[in-house]
């Protein structure tokens, strides 16, 4: 073995997870190195050219406050920004951006290249070297050994990646890229259990051959809202997307050729995501639907390529072309890249701790799609957490574990390590118990302490957030104390179609009315301090939702007490009397860290939880008595 430079942290794979992991580690002072099989695909967006959306946009904001890079790069590469759900309550608004694919990866590569403490190397890592249950480093395909204290594996869909177009299939990590075969076998060899998943993409079309006049244009918000707290202004030109629809003719072509689809001919064994079905799936499962939406999304500012979102497929190219051409606006469309399905290995994530370190191998962390997730945002979040925790581990500090009431990232990791996943896991707001607490607008207020504590949120930004928090609290206090006279506000109330007040009323009560926004308060009883939109928005949300926010906080607080009850690692579940075999299996697989997590294991009962509690107390007391 050739020995070379020694690193603190090595990251294998430079996708969304890998980039965040490497940056976080390097920024926390670690000597870090990131390996990629191709320097030109660092930060590649391999699926749709968009970032954010419901729950995912929330994650991007959380990444930003924890010192990650995704929000900043999205702001630099974004070519359309839309706040989704604006017609609903502010707690479920969410930001999404269309991005220039090339710009995104170039900007990300630039950040990596200019990062202190970080080396970037093009090499295929074939082996993770483990000795005595501890990770020692990695070995590349050229047989070169790199030593490190921690290794973070973020290989996405590359592990034994197998692409399918119709009945053709070929080994690939992404279209046109080699898969990683050796590494998958190595992970199995060092004791990790692997499964197989699949996902798919739609064909990409040439704009020259699209008749956009037959589609509806969908424009972004003007002015666009950025993702990152540090972005002042979005400077890229903004582009629309276009919406068109499939029709019965499209569906007939698909029905008639199902046996030529990789998916439907039984060639694919991996499990695909239900939230992102192929067009074959949609047509078969929802046969009564007369049409399905197709979003034509620009791939970038300097390209003609359009991503036909909504018709993900693994049909052969001739059928793809035929079905595309039945769609209004696409009658003459030329496919530039065909849609495809891809199968890949993933590691069952119940083998991980919340820190994303593997339970069995010290210093080995996994992040991103390798853990069974899908989506750039979910991947980036895991990379960030893995990078942070690798650094914290080497610094001898406690890992960063976010609670389910603190962040979608907390929900994501807890779900993965507690429940595992059967399909590529994507975040939805419905997965969170505390949706009102986990808003995209208050990610800074939720996570600034943590970001600052781990050292990735600089003092200046932290101070800014502290000041913002104080402004919000002061203004809420003012609103609770201040009363307004009927003649100052009744005209405005009338205009909004809500009942007038007869006597002096607290501003708080008025702001609680669904029809009344903070603008009304500003108009009739302004604050003496300049607050800014952001603070006003926070005040409005917190006052309007107060009762429910408090309710969720109280439940979260109670749950925290259970989370604080750690379960000793050496607990013997088999020795618990009267515990069902099913629960026993789950407990042994997951080995929950605390009672809160134990309670979330599938099939857990109050009685089984009671037994665990008694067992913990028994262990505790016998330890005390042996001292």
């Amino acid at each position: 073995m050739n020995t070379t430079k020694t690193y603190d942290v090595i990251v294998v794979g430079a996708g969304h997870a890998g980039c965040e992991a490497a940056l976080a580690a390097a920024r926390m002072g670690m000597a870090a190195c990131i390996f990629t099989m191709n320097l030109d695909t660092i930060g590649q967006m391999s699926c749709n050219p968009a970032i954010g959306g419901l729950a995912k946009g929330h994650i991007v904001r959380e990444i930003d406050v924890l010192g990650g890079e995704m929000a900043k790069i999205t702001d630099k590469a974004g070519i359309q920004f839309r706040m989704l759900n604006k017609s609903k309550g502010p707690a479920v608004w969410s930001l999404r951006a269309q991005t220039d694919r090339v710009l995104y990866r170039l900007k990300m590569r630039h950040v990596l290249e200019t990062q202190e403490n970080l080396d970037i190397k093009q090499a295929a890592v074939e082996e993770i070297i483990v000795e005595g249950g501890k990770v020692k480093g990695v070995l590349t395909a050229l047989g070169i050994f790199y030593s490190s204290g921690c290794v973070i594996v973020t290989t996405g869909t590359f592990l034994k990646g197998l692409m399918h177009i119709g009945h053709e299939s070929f080994a690939a990590g992404r279209a046109g890229e080699f898969p990683s075969v050796g590494l998958s076998d190595c992970l199995a060899r060092i004791g990790l259990k692997l499964g197989r998943l699949k996902t798919g993409t739609p064909p990409r079309l040439d704009a020259k051959t699209i008749d956009f006049s037959k589609t509806e244009a969908q424009f972004g918000d003007d002015p666009p809202t950025p993702f990152s707290h540090s972005t002042q202004k979005i400077t890229n030109p903004q582009l629309p997307c276009y919406i068109t629809y499939t029709n019965p003719e499209t569906h007939k072509i698909i029905q008639d050729n199902l046996e030529r689809s990789a998916m439907y001919s039984g060639k694919i064994t991996g499990i695909g995501p239900r939230y992102c079905p192929s067009i074959e799936d949609k047509v078969v499962r929802f046969a009564e639907r007369q049409r399905h939406q197709v979003f034509l999304e620009p791939e970038g500012l300097d390209t003609n390529e359009y991503y036909a979102n909504g018709i993900s497929t693994s049909l052969p190219l001739d059928i793809q072309t035929a079905l595309v051409r039945t769609i209004p606006g696409l009658e003459n469309a030329e496919i530039m890249r065909p849609g495809y399905a891809i199968e890949y290995d993933f590691v069952f994530p119940t083998q991980l701790k919340h820190s994303l370190e593997t339970k069995n191998i010290e210093g080995l962390f996994l992040g991103g799609q390798i853990n069974g997730t899908s989506g750039y945002e979910e991947a980036a979040a895991q990379g960030l957490i893995a990078g942070i925790n690798a650094a914290l581990r080497l610094q001898g500090r406690e890992p960063l574990v976010l609670g389910r009431h603190e962040a979608y990232i907390g929900v994501l990791l807890d779900d993965l390590v507690t429940k595992g996943t059967k399909e590529p896991y994507r975040m939805f707001t419905s997965r969170a118990e505390y949706r009102l607490l986990l808003r995209h607008d208050n990610a800074d207020m939720r996570l600034m302490e943590k970001g600052h504590e781990i050292g990735l949120l600089n003092d200046e930004t932290y101070e800014y957030f502290v000041d913002k928090k104080k402004k919000i609290e002061d203004e809420i206090n003012r609103i609770k104390k201040t009363r307004v006279k009927p003649d100052r506000i009744n005209a405005a109330l009338k205009e909004l179609g809500t009942s007038a007040i007869e006597e002096d009323s607290p501003l708080e009560q008025l702001l609680k009315r669904p029809e009344v926004s903070y603008a009304v308060i500003r108009q009739c009883s302004p604050s003496e301090v300049e607050l800014g939109d952001d603070v006003e928005h926070q005040v409005e949300i917190q006052v309007k939702y107060e009762g429910y926010i408090i309710r969720q906080q109280e439940t979260a607080e109670k749950l925290k007490k259970l989370e604080e009850k750690n379960i000793p690692a050496d607990i013997d579940y088999k020795a618990l009397p009267g515990i069902s075999r099913e629960i026993l299996c789950k407990l042994e697989e997951v080995r929950p860290a605390n009672l809160g997590q134990a309670g979330r294991i599938q099939g857990m009962t109050p009685a089984a939880l009671s037994l665990i509690m008694i067992a913990i107390e028994k262990i505790r007391r016998s330890r005390v008595s042996h001292l």
Binding site: P277, K558, L611
Partner: protein, 460 residues
């Protein structure tokens, strides 16, 4: 989710043993709950009572301050109690029925029904029970849980489980619809209109309320319905009692286990056991001083499930009759005008002003007695429709869960009507599903996602 610092309550005497039962409450709110439910004979208040003191007084219904039962209450403060938490024990004197009612009142004040073996569990976790007894604690929890499960399974028979399954599915569909609407703003989801959702929820709530009300009704079948005949002297209370019992003389028994000076006779209407509370003095009212007679009538009115207010049709209404009709207004009662065999001197218009429901009979000839029996039956078993086919809720754990589900649905409907955001609605709906899930098995986020993906074509 169960939390460790909740206040818990349960009946802690074995059912069916002796006339005294104990409701035990443990946790931070135990004293507060006792304060709200207990009125001591002296000025004692549980929360300021001396450690390990025994107070004598009444359990009251905090809604209207009426007396539910006579009770002894003991207060044991943390850490000097079995669980090392604040513990209040209520010794009820009215037999198992009043123990159950007291427990319901305690639960209504915010305590949670204890899990099987939970007092013991707390005693162990808080250091009351030593390590050598840990295995015994495991056994208690396991055994009690198994027993509890067996009973719960039995009680879910007879179509209840199926019925709850339907309701759960209905809530799940509505929940999935709301969640899909929030999480997939760009997908073409055929969202139901608010009216449709409101209508379906109201349906579910009615079904749940109907089931919950069978708890009360089923209890009448199991434990008997207590009926008091009240009225001033000589209106014919004894004659009515005798004629009611006459036909059923064969099954008249004395209910064992009562410690009161009231003799309870027992008849049967369509299978419903009726305990006629003869408030002792009423039979021999002429021998009692008037004050005592009134006291007993008041007591009967407060304690009976159903009241027959008896008037004498052959005499004009007396001051006492007016008082009686005042006393029973708003209660589960019927006004009965006796002596229809004699010329009527009582003003029916006046009676009508005071009460909506009244009927006439002759305790002497028996005319109208069957109508009274039927009225007693139907006034107490309003929901005992044929279509239920015997689906009843008999487990208080189930009933509490159903009531909590119903309240959450009520709030969800309220939010929809007030035009509040859907994400608040979804919180209430999730709580409704959580409560129902305590009987039917939990609804997980995965269940909701399954429903969304099977019902809607999601995904670009």
């Amino acid at each position: 989710m169960r939390f460790e610092n909740d206040t818990i309550a349960a009946i802690s005497t074995p059912v069916g043993q002796g006339g005294i039962g104990i409701v035990r409450i443990s946790g931070p709110q135990a004293l507060e709950i006792a304060d709200r439910l207990f009125r001591a004979k002296k000025a004692d208040i549980p929360s300021v009572a001396r450690q390990a003191s025994l107070l004598y007084g009444h359990i009251i219904n905090p809604a209207d301050n009426t007396i539910m039962d006579e009770a002894l209450l003991s207060v044991m403060r943390s850490p000097h109690s079995y669980t090392k938490e604040d513990v209040v024990e209520i010794n009820c004197h009215g037999g198992i029925i009043s123990v159950k009612r007291t427990l319901e009142a305690v639960l209504a004040q915010g305590a949670r029904l204890a899990d099987p073996g939970e007092f013991t569990k707390r005693a162990f976790l808080n250091g009351r029970i030593n390590l050598t007894q840990a295995e015994a604690v495991f056994d208690i929890i396991t055994a009690k849980t198994e027993e509890g499960m067996r009973i719960a399974v039995e009680q879910l028979q007879g179509g209840l489980s199926e019925k709850l399954g339907h309701i759960k599915n209905k809530l799940l569909e509505i929940g999935a619809c709301a969640e899909a609407y929030i999480d997939f703003p760009e997908d073409e989801i055929g969202i139901q209109t608010l009216q449709q959702i409101r209508g379906r929820l109201a349906e579910a709530k009615d079904e749940i309320n109907g089931l919950s009300s069978t708890f009360q009704e089923a209890r009448f079948f199991r434990d008997g319905l207590s009926v008091a005949i009240v009225g001033r002297p000589n209106v014919g209370k004894s004659s009515l009692l005798n004629i009611l019992l006459k036909k059923d003389r064969a099954i008249v028994t004395e209910l064992p286990g009562t410690t009161r000076d009231i003799i309870e006779d027992y008849l049967n209407i369509n299978g419903l056991p009726i305990r006629i509370m003869d408030t002792a003095g009423i039979r021999n009212s002429e021998e009692l001083v008037e004050k005592e007679g009134i006291r007993r009538s008041l007591h009967a009115i407060q304690n009976a499930d159903f009241i027959i207010a008896l008037l004498d049709g052959s005499e004009p209404l007396a001051e006492d009759d007016f008082q009686l009709m005042e006393l029973i207004s708003g209660k589960n009662a019927v006004v009965v005008i006796n002596k229809s065999d004699l010329p009527a001197k009582l003003s029916l218009e006046t009676v009508r002003e005071k009460t909506k429901e009244y009927l006439s009979l002759s305790a002497l000839s028996g005319e109208g007695v069957e109508t009274l029996k039927s009225a007693i039956f139907h006034a107490n078993l309003r929901n005992w429709g044929e279509e239920r086919e015997g689906v009843v809720v008999t487990n208080i754990r189930h009933k509490t869960a159903l009531d909590n589900t119903s309240s959450s649905i009520g709030r969800a409907i309220g939010l929809l009507s007030a035009n509040q955001p859907l994400e608040l609605f979804s919180i209430e709906l999730r709580e409704a599903m959580d409560s129902l899930g305590e009987i039917t098995g939990m609804v997980t986020p995965e269940d909701i996602l399954d429903k969304i993906f099977s019902a809607f074509c999601i995904g670009k």
